[in-house]
Each structure stands twice: as structure tokens, then as C-alpha cells.
Symmetry: C2
Subunit: 205 residues, 2 copies
DNA sequence: TGTACATGTCACCGACAGGTGACATTAGGA
DNA sequence: TCCTAATGTCACCTGTCGGTGACATGTACA
């Protein structure tokens, strides 16, 4: 109709986002994207090449991972001036909040337990850079985390991921109502408890 | 061929298990089961009714969740005679080991983040009973867990689930090599650290 | 002006999914 | 013995998927 390739490409990419956010990877496909974007599917092949390239293009355009500022605050240096246990706890809590706000990211997280695709590959890379930078933010005057601590942080991060992903489908897990704000506040205080105690032990040793 | 309905039904149910364990829900379907079982798919409809009923039948026959003994040991009463922190830590570690041994369970856990089906419903119920019984085992002379503690246990359990599920597809998460035995030993010591400290704090208060 | 190319439309293909109806064969009871 | 019902086999339906070839139309440039 409009004979505007850029606009068409944008429509397609927006459709990708909508489908992922609303229906997830389960009902995702070339035909579904074309339908949603109200565009002939042949244009998707012409402009992007195919499914993998489409996903990669979407990945590059999207912002489905927290930024450093979002998690570490606008002044990351400030983290090095507070006790390590508080810094780590804050980072984890902020991460939980940031990730919960991203439906597409949660979908990708859920789906990468099923199969690898272009989006999970890109997410993998982004996440690696992210944790590396975050480590740089933490490891300063406050001292470097030990291996023990790293395992604790890994476990807690994994727990956050799991609960955030799961909250899309179900109202509670174990004792916590993961759909409600207060449920997540319970979890945040659990995180602070874990960090506080574990790191205190480390410092004492 | 053999004109033996019972044998045919068994073949079908075994095929369900094989497909779930090897290929997962992604490539699961009536046709796939029929192919794997070397049975005409119409028999699946005749004997079970359809996909939901087939899954329910498989669910009732299978043992894809840890038993209480597997997690609490053959003498659950013994748990009430050790410090609460050690009891909880042991339960969590045993749970991690038990769940890692069950590929089909991990598949269901992964898939229930995508969609609800008959298997996830059954799993939901089994899991609920399991946690209830387990709570009964713990809550004895050692005293009842607090709400704070419950949130910690929830978070750790979620982390275990996530890492176990993820280890099917990827070798490491964060700082931990989740495919290797030593990676899980790091996690176990992290669990003990968390439990020990958090509960110690509770007792002091 | 005319022509070449980018853009968009349409119709179609083969593969596979879930699902069903009709038929052959065997076993077991009247 | 014969008849019925259970068991197993086969062919076929509809719908959706990813993917492609052929064609119409607008646009920009020689």
C-alpha cells in the first residue's frame, strides 16, 4: 500500500514484540507475525531473510535487559562506599524489579529452557556483558567477592529468574504470592537477610 | 498384531516417557507418540481418549517427583532431633539431588513456564502434597519456621529448580558450572551457608 | 517520456499436525 | 459352529506451517 519499506519493517518488528509479549514463543512464527503486522509474509523474507534474521533484527532493536544504571543507580561509584552486603542486596533487589517489568525478557527466559534460538543467543551475550560490568561496579574498595559468595549470588539470581518467569502463569510459589507486590517485598527482605548474613560471616573470617 | 490391549497401552505410555525425556514437549504429540510406540495413532484415541487423558494416564503411572523418604531420609523423625538449620539445609540439598535425577520432571518444570497442560496440573497437586508433608516433618520439636524463613526457602527452592532445569541446555550459570558435580557441591555449600546463617539469626532474636 | 527496479499482492506447494470413518482380522461366548 | 465385539490397519479430511514463484503497481532516474 504505502510503499514505504522502513515503515513496513517497523510494523514487522513491532508485531514481533507484540506477539512475544502477548502469546509468547509458543504461537510465534512467520505467519503469525505477518498476520499481526497486517503485512504479506513474503515481505518478511525479502526484508529480513527469514526467522533467525528477523529475531536478530528484533534483538538489536529491543531493550529487553536491564541497564547498569537501572540496577546500580545513576552513580555506581556510590555502591563502593556502602557495606558490601548492602550493595549486593540492593543490586539483586533492583535486578528483580527491573526484570519483572519486561514481559518479553521473561518470555525469552522461559523459552531458553526449551530451545536455543537467535533471541536466547543474543540474550546470552547481553547478560554476560551485564554481569561483567556489574562485577566491575561491585569489586572496588569493598573488596572482591569470594567463590562462596558467588555461588550464593548465583543461587539467588536463579531464584529470582524462576519466580519472575513463573509469576506469568501462576499466582504463588511455595509460601509466597509472586503476583502481588507484597510477595516480592517478602522476597526482597529474604534477599537482604541472605546477603547480610552470608557476607557478615565472610567478613568475620 | 499381538492383539493385546494391555501390552499396547504399556507401549504407548512408555513411548510418552521416552519422548518427554529425549525430545521434550516441544516435539510431543499424538503422531510422535504413535510413531515412537510403533502403534497406529487411532489406538491412542480409542484407549485413552486424546492427548489430555493420555497425559493424565502417564502422570498416574509415573514417579516424577521425589518421595518424602528420598528427601527426608528413611527416618524423618531424626530431622527433629538436629538443629533446624541443618534439617532445612539437608532437605533442600537432598531435594536438589533428587530432582536432578529426573529428566521428565525437569522437562515438565521447564514447560510449565510456557503453558499449562495435564501434566503440570498433576505435578502441581503432587508438589503441594509433598511440601505439606515435608512441612509436617520439619515442624516438630524444632519449632515452626517463620514467615521470613519461608520466603528464604522459597527463593532457594526456586533457584534450585531454575538451575536444574537450565543445566539441561547449558553448562554454566553465573559463576557456577551447573553440569558438573562440583558445581552442585558449591551450590550445596551455599545452601548450607544461607540456612545456617538465616536461621541462626532467627534463633538469636 | 519511458523504463528499470523497489514494493506490495496473490496463489500455490509440500510437510506435518490432530482427528475420524471404514475396513480386515482375530478371539471368545452363545 | 457361527456371530459379535475387540483389536489392529489404512486412507483420508481439514487446517496450519514455512517457503516460493509469478504478477501488479508505484517511483525515481536516464
Amino acid at each position: 500500500m504505502a510503499r514505504d519499506r522502513q515503515a513496513t519493517e517497523k510494523k514487522i518488528l513491532r508485531a514481533v514484540g507484540r506477539i512475544l509479549a502477548e502469546k509468547g514463543f509458543q504461537n510465534f512464527g512467520i505467519n503469525a507475525v505477518a498476520r499481526q503486522a497486517k503485512v504479506d509474509k513474503v515481505l518478511i523474507y525479502r526484508y529480513f531473510g527469514g526467522m533467525p534474521e528477523l529475531l536478530r533484527a528484533y534483538a538489536e532493536a529491543g531493550s529487553y535487559w536491564p541497564t547498569i544504571e537501572e540496577v546500580a543507580g545513576s552513580d555506581p561509584g556510590a555502591l563502593q562506599r556502602v557495606p558490601l552486603q548492602k550493595a549486593v542486596a540492593d543490586l539483586l533487589c533492583n535486578f528483580a524489579r527491573a526484570i519483572r517489568k519486561r514481559p518479553v525478557t521473561l518470555e525469552i527466559l522461559a523459552w531458553e529452557a526449551i530451545e536455543r534460538n537467535e533471541l536466547s543467543k543474543v540474550l546470552h551475550k547481553v547478560r554476560k556483558d551485564f554481569t561483567k560490568k556489574l562485577y566491575g561496579v561491585i569489586a572496588g574498595s569493598a573488596g572482591h567477592p569470594t567463590a562462596d559468595m558467588a555461588a550464593v549470588v548465583t543461587l539467588v539470581t536463579a531464584g529470582i529468574n524462576y519466580l519472575a518467569v513463573r509469576s506469568r502463569k501462576v499466582g504463588s510459589f511455595g509460601a509466597v504470592r509472586i503476583r502481588s507486590e507484597e510477595g516480592w517485598q517478602q522476597l526482597e527482605s529474604a534477599i537482604r537477610m541472605i546477603c547480610g548474613q552470608c557476607i557478615a560471616e565472610r567478613e568475620a573470617a
